[in-house]
Symmetry: C2
Subunit: 457 residues, 2 copies
């Protein structure tokens, strides 16, 4: 159908400022932060403020069989929010109201465009805590977090986004409104459709309202850094920490390549001869005592130095190195591919050492930082995008890292999602029966296949 007709039909149910048709502006909505994934050109970008406006868009899209790509802040790392040619992009960023915060029920009700950090600060004023904290938390939206089922640093103690989403309002492909889940602490009435939408990358419906479970705010966390002479020793310490029942609120690992990159960028004076740095934190009533016990485990497993912070400011300084990791690795070469392989904790050392072997084989720089307590590694493949051979080797190593993860009983994505980046790998992980059942679910919600087509599978 001609572009003008589509835009006219959309305009009929939208306020003037909700429809972007200028091709240059629309093009700026073409992709998320996985820049190297293919992205098409949207026919229109809609910035709705109400549920009814989203419903109008979906009714129009269904009538015209036009694909729709829902977007949050486009901080994703898998291309899941990338436009397809001729699609309608629905950016939910203007639906950014916090509708309710209840300390008694320990829930918040929000629109999808609320920024993670805005919500986190708002609930903190009520003595509450919304744990999920992806790296992009200052800019990413709750709707995007739900779409990608995102994680963060806190998962080792608090789990991922999925565990905090208990109810949803979803505009379906045909424009109808579906309400799932509950506001109550428990509820088992029918199939858990709420959870089905979490991580569905906009392929089953558009989330327009979410009921989120909250926790009481814990004490401010206190951190520790421990230097290890090998990743194997650091990973053995991680396993022992978890096996012995410690409950850190953060347990992160940086390898030597990452340490060097951070030093090169920020002159932090990190120990470059150290093969692995472990960062741990506790948000318990007596974090110093808990850190001392965890530090003792590190020493037992060969840590050459254990540095506990004395106060929250010192903690933040220790954690700054971790927070800079990705940016620092991105500065090593002109391009990076960030992997997100999660393995059983007991296989963490095998995963990291195997990644080092892949880097060596392909003569590439691959830095690994990991949510070590979860077994969730982020190997960052650094390469020169202008060098065709290096780019090819980067892609090969990226794939070999996922193959290694599956071999070790892991998954191709712990928290970043599938998008377009890992479509073929999803099929490998799920196998033919799994893939068929996933497609069956997709067809039940989106029989015309207009919701974010070409993503996931």
């Amino acid at each position: 159908m001609p572009l003008d007709d589509l835009q006219a039909l959309l305009r009929a149910g939208l306020p003037d400022d909700a429809l972007v048709t200028d091709p240059d502006v629309a093009a700026s909505y073409a992709h998320d932060m996985a820049g190297f994934c293919a992205a098409g050109t949207p026919a229109a970008v809609v910035l709705p403020r109400t549920v009814e406006q989203v419903q109008h868009v979906m009714r129009t899209a269904t009538a015209l069989r036009v694909p729709v790509v829902p977007q949050g802040a486009r901080t994703g790392l898998s291309g899941a929010a990338n436009a397809t040619d001729g699609c309608i992009v629905v950016s939910l960023t203007r639906m950014d109201r916090i509708l309710d915060i209840s300390p008694v029920d320990r829930v918040a009700v929000v629109e999808p465009g609320v920024v993670n950090a805005v919500l986190s600060r708002a609930v903190a004023e009520h003595g509450l805590f919304y744990p999920p904290d992806p790296s992009s938390w200052e800019t990413c939206t709750i709707g995007g977090n739900i779409g990608t089922a995102s994680g963060g640093l806190c998962c080792v103690k608090y789990g991922v986004t999925a565990e905090y989403v208990i109810g949803l309002d979803v505009v379906l492909a045909d424009g109808r409104l579906l309400r799932t889940g509950r506001r109550t602490a428990k509820g088992v009435a029918g199939y858990d459709l709420t959870r089905l939408f979490v991580g569905s990358e906009g392929s089953l419906g558009i989330v327009v309202r979410a009921v989120l479970a909250l926790k009481p705010a814990p004490p401010v966390q206190l951190a520790l850094a421990a230097e290890f002479p090998s990743t194997a020793a650091a990973c053995a310490a991680v396993c022992a920490i978890m096996e012995r029942g410690h409950a850190p609120s953060l347990l992160e690992l940086m390898d030597r390549t990452t340490l060097r990159a951070v030093n090169a960028m920020a002159r932090m004076g990190l120990p470059e001869t150290t093969e692995a740095l472990l960062l741990a934190a506790f948000d318990t009533p007596d974090p110093a005592a808990d850190l001392a016990a965890l530090g003792a485990v590190c020493t037992e497993f060969g840590a050459t130095e254990v540095v506990p912070a004395d106060d929250p400011a010192e903690s933040e300084l220790l954690l700054k190195a971790r927070r800079l990791s990705l940016t620092a690795l991105e500065a090593v070469k002109s391009a990076t591919m960030i992997d997100d392989v999660c393995v059983p904790r007991s296989k963490l050392a095998a995963m990291i050492d195997g990644t080092a072997a892949i880097a060596e084989k392909h003569d590439l720089t691959i830095g690994v930082c990991a949510h070590a307590g979860d077994g969730n590694t982020h190997p960052v493949v650094c390469f020169d995008a202008a060098d065709a051979d290096e780019s090819r080797r980067a892609r090969e190593s990226f794939d070999e890292i996922m193959a290694l993860g599956l071999e070790l009983g892991g998954t191709i994505t712990g928290e970043h999602g599938v998008g377009v980046l890992k479509k073929e790998w999803l099929a490998r992980e799920l196998g033919p029966v799994g893939l068929e059942m996933q497609r069956g679910v997709k067809a039940a919600f989106d029989p015309l296949g207009i919701l974010n087509p070409g993503k996931l599978f």
Copy 2:
């Protein structure tokens, strides 16, 4: 098809002792513990020991279009495991192996027939904790817990079964094997089909293996009892406890009717003039201090007496009254109907007082015990099954209690499930769009409708 043919086809792929065809023995598998729900007569009962045997049954059932009803220990309270006429009952109780317990990965891998208490004790030997603890935990199976998404006393701190199921092997309606989820701490590869099966009451497939997340074993819990002059005061205390960030491992409420029934049965000397008894426990490093703080909140909200236990034995004595509640209420009249309405915590008082009003209106004895911290009430309607009018009033009050729960923003079932008991109510809670999407999911997994037909919707 003739019964003999069905049995012969089943026998072809099963060892002799796996097939029960004796009508009397088969009839003993007709229903779960919701005895007053309709139950049919099974054509055969299969007791498989292997995945292949379950696959054989499902292939046979698909070929013959015969309904299949999966069963665990049949301790459910909604008729979800009740046989339908001419069905094949698949009892998973013989698939009872614990396949793996990993303290490092904090997971257990089990067959569905493992009894909850057996698993709990086995993981405790490794310093681990499998929290879900339905009342029937000494006899109910993990497969049944997964089918009904069951809860228990620990949910206020540890959540429900769903939160501990991270991967499944499922035999589909056509006999194919589907593997969902993961063994890793995190994973977002595709739609969360694992969670879809939890609470699906055997209507989407037969779970033959489960990967369960475990927690480190906490200290033994210490309990406290607090007597209140009104349920409103007790509920206000519950709200304040949760609002102020206390994290009890148990927070239960018994109303006056329940207290009287327990006294009548066990002569426990519970205070019958008390309108509500609150029981709380902590499994923290310093439970006495935490109980003292919680006790102070109870006093602030009008508790006339606060009795903290000095040791675990005394705790168990306090909790015994709660554990006896259901049995004691069942002894009041010849029959009971156990409701399971969960409301937002802030509406708990309205729910309990509303239930008392319903009891008075219908001139019935309705005792309420509640997982108060979750807002999950169990009103137990006591009636004489031989008295037609009283039975009618019991059914009416049972329904009015659910209507009240929905009015208060709650759900018709917090942990018992829908089964046949609450089918019509599920439709009311979900609404037409919700119901249609649920049916769509069902059709995607079970196009012939042979898996536990007539349950849920």
